[in-house]
């Protein structure tokens, strides 16, 4: 297997409600930024992470569409779907293709255009990541499913309502320094706790928003990157993925993300690293409780202690392990298919030392964790500065 590097990265200019831009526009914008950043004039293959172009804009066949509009025909282009971890899963396919020696320059993009439909239709589209017949059928929504996990976690470990809010406060503080973020402003603990209830105990400010956005990265063999890279080279030292049950109710422990545990184990082994070696991480904070549970699953904190991390400042910029310096899904936004690739982009920015006000000083090793559904899929990558 060949070592793999990230040669170029890009996001579309601004995430949010982009009424004047189409699905293809935002994808191509991000992909062009990544191509310019990589300073290459061609690619050999492409993957597009997208959860549900069909339900959000009635468009499928996204590999073909994006290759066409990026002007790279006839290269192979394939859409990868793994719900909210579609981006991470697409990146993993790109990694495998370069590592295997099949292709040298692979573009991996992620995209979601979510605001062409009403909030109600978006809720319905997202619920397709749960068990439609045995969860959504009963009326449960995604905030509802994570609320079930939150209450189980609070019951088992004494996690407090305030501790959940601290995750939102911390991620918005980070996101306020990210010009791409959909909601680049700070929120207070009182504002989170006082915001409208969506699914008890989760309030609207515990939830990531509906977002239009895209992200892209160009991968190549590490050896090639060392010769042609114009920017600091970032190595992909681990790519891992694991699956758990589709339905939350099928899990033995409702407050534990087994698929993330399994993906992280594989990733740490592959990279020869452990949680203590990480300097920065981007994790899937689709809801505040998710970040708390992911920190536990990654071994960054003890089981049951995730609630204390944001509250104590451990995961804030300047803390022991800053988490979600981009603002996370909470503040930066969560265009579901783009999120996994955007996490990679943020860690690459950090490892290159290009993060400006939100730079983690001396960051050399970073991790991304991208999750589909209620944790039925988890993708973990470890990146290192070379």
């Amino acid at each position: 297997m060949r070592d793999v590097a990230i040669l170029g990265i890009g996001l579309n200019e601004k995430w949010g409600e982009l009424w004047d831009k189409s699905l293809r526009d935002i994808f191509v914008e991000a992909a062009l930024h990544a191509l310019d950043d990589a300073a290459v004039d061609h690619i050999d293959s492409m993957y597009v992470g997208c959860m549900t172009g069909g339900m959000f804009v009635a468009q499928e066949h996204l590999g073909c569409l994006m290759a066409d509009y990026l002007g790279v025909n006839p290269v192979a282009a394939t859409r990868v779907e793994s719900a909210c971890s579609s981006g991470g899963a697409a990146f993993r396919q790109g990694f495998i293709e370069v590592a295997s020696g099949v292709s040298d320059l692979v573009m991996v993009g992620g995209v979601e255009k979510m605001t062409d439909v009403s909030g109600d239709e978006a809720t319905h589209a997202l619920s397709a990541a749960s068990d439609m017949e045995y969860e959504a059928y009963q009326g449960i929504t995604f905030p509802g499913l994570y609320a079930l996990m939150a209450r189980a976690h609070m019951h088992q470990y004494g996690t407090t309502r305030e501790q959940l809010a601290h995750v939102a406060v911390k991620n918005h503080r980070h996101g306020a320094m990210n010009p791409v973020a959909q909601y680049p402003f700070e929120v207070t603990l009182e504002e989170v706790l006082g915001s409208v209830l969506v699914a008890d105990p989760l309030h609207i400010l515990d939830c990531s928003p509906i977002t239009d956005g895209a992200a892209a990265a160009v991968l190549c063999p590490l050896e090639m990157a060392r010769k042609i890279a114009k920017k600091p080279v970032v190595r992909v030292s681990a790519s891992a993925q694991a699956s758990g049950t589709l339905a939350l109710h099928s899990r033995k422990d409702l407050a534990w993300l087994e698929s993330t545990v399994r993906a992280a184990e594989q990733a740490y082994k592959m990279a020869g690293k452990g949680p203590k070696d990480l300097h920065v991480a981007e994790v899937h904070d689709c809801f505040t409780i998710a970040e708390i549970m992911v920190l536990e699953a990654l071994g960054l904190v003890e089981r049951g202690k995730g609630g204390q991390a944001a509250e104590s400042g451990m995961t804030a910029l300047g803390g022991r392990i800053p988490v979600n310096t981009s603002g996370g899904l909470k503040s930066k936004g969560h265009p579901v298919g783009a999120t996994g690739v955007a996490q990679i982009v943020e860690i690459a920015i950090q490892l290159r030392g290009e993060a400006g006000a939100r730079q983690v000083k001396g960051a050399r090793v970073g991790l991304t964790q991208n999750m589909g559904g209620t944790g039925g899929s988890s993708v973990v990558h470890i990146l290192e500065a070379c």
Binding site: E135, A136, Y137, G139, I140, G144, L148, A199, L254
Partner: protein
């Protein structure tokens, strides 16, 4: 899923609570499966779920899907039925303030939703505190 066939084929589970019990290791599956995730056996017998259980976790949905607009807000929980199978179900005829983890509930056959433009009436089970 606004399709009568899609609804009809789930009727053994929705109406009669039919689960699959692995003949080799006794693991229970609801809905039934073709292969046991625990032991790999493909031999199952059909058994009926118990109709009583306890609340493992719950939430109050304050922003509901459009088919559930009329009953929002409503409570949903994960219920562990006696015998060990867990399901997601609405908790009805209850005071939200009095809901608690560990509370005993009983399943009742109720209308769940109206699906699609044809308005197929879809039934299933909800739970009621005992």
């Amino acid at each position: 899923m606004a399709n009568p066939a899609g609804y009809w084929r789930e009727i053994p589970q929705r109406y009669r609570l039919e689960a699959g019990k692995c003949k080799s290791c006794s693991e229970m599956y609801f809905p039934p499966r073709l292969v046991c995730a625990r032991c790999g056996s493909r031999q199952f017998e059909t058994v009926k779920l118990q109709d009583k259980g306890q609340i493992l976790t719950f939430t109050i949905i304050r922003v509901g899907p459009s088919q559930f607009m009329d009953e929002t807000p409503f409570a949903v929980g994960i219920i562990e039925l006696d015998g060990g199978v867990r399901i997601t179900a609405q908790i009805v005829d209850c005071d939200f303030e009095k809901l608690a983890i560990g509370q005993r509930v009983r399943l009742e056959f109720r209308r769940i939703q109206k699906q699609g433009e044809a308005g197929i009436l879809c039934y299933g089970h909800k739970c009621v505190p005992i």
